[in-house]
């Protein structure tokens, strides 16, 4: 166990080292994964809401599609995005390959199915009576949606947590479309990979601990938000 406790100490030393490179990497990870999660929420939650409440032919097939996409390996998504953004690819004119925006695109594609899938389940579990009642009270479609999403917010937050956790810890997509360029597109996961490759296991372990620590902090915040306003339900 000595290696792990040493790594925790090293991780703390890394955090207080004051090295701008360290903070840049952490900040870039949070920026990329945070933005990606946010964008994925904007797309994924409406999809989840729509799939959760509506009844139409082909809904089952769509849910299967979303659930399949939830399991897409990051490296596959990375490859798709790389092929599209490469200068010889269809979107090459945008010239954003190997930049943070490209990493965000890849992570949005990873997180959207996750968020959509989990929120579908959350929205579907809201009882039909609530919607009928809200409509009967004269609510508009938007007000109805707000009421349903409020009711299912625990599930929605779980979706956001799953989405963020999924993207901040993946390495396949960011390394493929970001290129792990030092000082430009290196994030925490690719830093771990790089340090392992050059035999710096100690440094890689401290990065791993920093990554875990940050995910814990973010999840504490999100879980607190998830559990706040519980009294509303009673």
């Amino acid at each position: 166990m000595g290696v792990y406790s040493t790594a925790v100490g090293d991780a703390l030393r890394l955090l207080v080292s004051g090295s701008s490179e360290v903070y840049d990497i952490i900040w870039l990870s949070l920026q990329v994964s945070g933005t990606a999660t946010l964008l994925a929420c904007l797309v994924g939650i409406p999809i989840g809401y729509f799939l959760g409440i509506s009844r139409f032919a082909g809904r089952g097939a769509l849910i299967v599609l979303v659930n399949t996409a939830m399991g897409l390996p990051p490296v596959v998504v990375g490859l798709f995005v790389y092929m599209a953004l490469s200068r010889s690819g269809p979107l090459g004119f945008m010239e954003i390959l190997f930049t943070p925006p490209a990493m965000i695109i890849a992570q949005v594609m990873l997180a959207t199915p996750l968020i959509a899938g989990v929120s579908t389940a959350a929205v579907a579990s809201v009882s039909r009576e609530l919607r009928i009642q809200v409509r009967a009270l004269g609510a508009s479609r938007l007000q109805e949606a707000i009421a349903v999403l409020k009711e299912s917010r625990r599930g929605i937050f779980a979706a956001v947590i799953a989405g963020f956790g999924g993207v901040i810890s993946e390495v396949g997509a960011v390394s493929m479309v970001g290129g792990a360029i030092q000082g430009a597109t290196m994030v925490m996961t690719t830093a771990i990979q790089f340090d392992v490759r050059r035999g710096q296991f100690g440094l890689a372990m401290s990065w791993a601990m920093v990554l875990i620590g940050i995910v814990i902090v973010v999840n504490v915040v999100l879980t607190t938000m998830q559990n706040s306003g519980v009294t509303y339900e009673r």
Binding site: S86, S88, T99, V196
Partner: protein, 372 residues
């Protein structure tokens, strides 16, 4: 009554005292600010983001030390790079200096404009030059030395390195996602240039490959005469584990050539003894160490990543040369940047840097310069 008026008087006096204290508290810094005149001189009005520019400042009257805050404004909000500043704060940088002294500051604020009360420095964005190279150049630490040196010599360029296997690096050249390549896979390089994807292929440096294996050498490979014999023995015995890169990298291609030289048509099939790892060199070396097996390794990775339970089994053969060349990508996004890197890395100064790289730390030369 008497009591009440006394109380009122005390209250009044207290209020006056507080106001006076506030005025004094506010006035002291304000006065010192007014009395301290800052003059900032900037040696150049326009610099590139990584170019050092001298800021000389004087503070009057003689304050012992003063922190000068110069703010920059973003000139574009095109990409996130616009807010990337290598300083202690994102929106302002501080450079503290003593009266009468001169300080210099690296303007690393990309796409930013530095302003001060007196002078304004326009920080020009640098042109990104994409270099695709192999993991061995990064993992050995060579590029950590060369990248900043290139940017110092050419302040208008921001070199960004993609460190992958030679196969992938050449693919980045074909898709024109890289501007210049620094690779070591001769046959592929020739095909790359012949196919019209690259031009101006020039030797830069070389190191050597070597066969490494367990300290105990269980397969008695070290006693074989030549590297070809070693490969023959490994394959006929099919007993000792051999870890192959298996990733189309330069080292992997070299391994294929050695099997061919040993009289075999292709690779051994993946089996109990022949492991196709698909990993980078450092990982592959560690796998050989964990599995108590043999592997072909380049000198740079060996010197910098040596596992203690492995030793050199065979080296020094002329066929084990590992030449690195620089190739400019045809139709690159930044052809001028690629050409500049190609020219620069072959200059005498840089060739000397390459030769001396790692000598202090490891007592061994890792790369030998090859440029004319």
């Amino acid at each position: 009554m008497q009591n009440r008026s006394t109380a009122a008087g005390i209250r009044q006096r207290a209020i006056v005292a507080i106001i006076v204290a506030l005025v004094v508290a506010l006035a002291i810094p304000a006065m010192s600010f007014a009395a301290t005149r800052l003059t900032i001189k900037v040696s150049k009005a326009s610099v590139y983001t990584n170019q050092a520019s001298t800021i000389s400042g004087s503070v009057k009257p003689t304050a012992a030390k003063k922190t000068v805050v110069v703010q920059y404004k973003k000139t574009t909000s095109l990409v996130w790079k616009s807010v990337k500043v290598k300083t202690n704060s994102k929106s302002a940088w501080k450079y503290s200096f003593k009266t009468g002294t001169t300080g210099s500051y690296d303007f690393r604020a990309k796409y930013a404009k530095a302003t001060s009360a007196k002078k304004r420095v326009t920080v020009n964005p640098r042109t990104v030059v994409m270099l695709a190279s192999t993991t061995s150049t990064q993992d050995s630490g060579l590029m950590t030395v060369l990248e900043p040196a290139f940017e110092k010599a050419y302040p208008m360029y921001d070199i960004q390195g993609l460190y992958v296997g030679s196969g992938q690096a050449i693919a980045y050249g074909k898709s024109k996602d890289a501007d210049v390549l620094l690779v070591h896979s001769p046959a592929d390089e020739i095909a790359f240039v012949k196919g019209g994807w690259g031009k101006n292929r020039q030797p830069v440096m070389h190191n050597t490959f070597m066969l490494v294996g367990p300290n105990a050498d269980p397969g008695s490979i070290a006693t074989q005469g030549s590297i070809i014999d070693c490969f023959k023995k490994l394959r006929t015995d099919s007993k000792e584990i051999f870890v192959s890169r298996g990733d189309d990298s330069g080292t992997h291609k070299k391994e294929l050539a050695l099997w061919k030289d040993a009289g075999y048509a292709g690779y051994p099939n993946p089996s109990d003894w022949y492991v196709k790892s698909g990993l980078g060199m450092g990982d592959c070396l560690r796998m050989a160490s964990e599995k108590n097996g043999y592997t072909l390794v380049d000198r740079a990775t060996w010197v910098t990543n040596r596992p203690s339970d492995l030793k050199i089994v065979q080296q020094g053969d002329a066929s084990l040369q590992n030449p690195y060349t620089v190739i400019e990508v045809v139709g690159a996004k930044q052809p001028a940047g690629g050409a500049a890197f190609s020219t620069w890395i072959r200059t005498e100064t840089v060739q000397n840097t390459i030769y001396n790289f790692g000598y202090k730390k490891y007592g061994l030369h890792i790369f030998w310069p090859d440029a004319d």
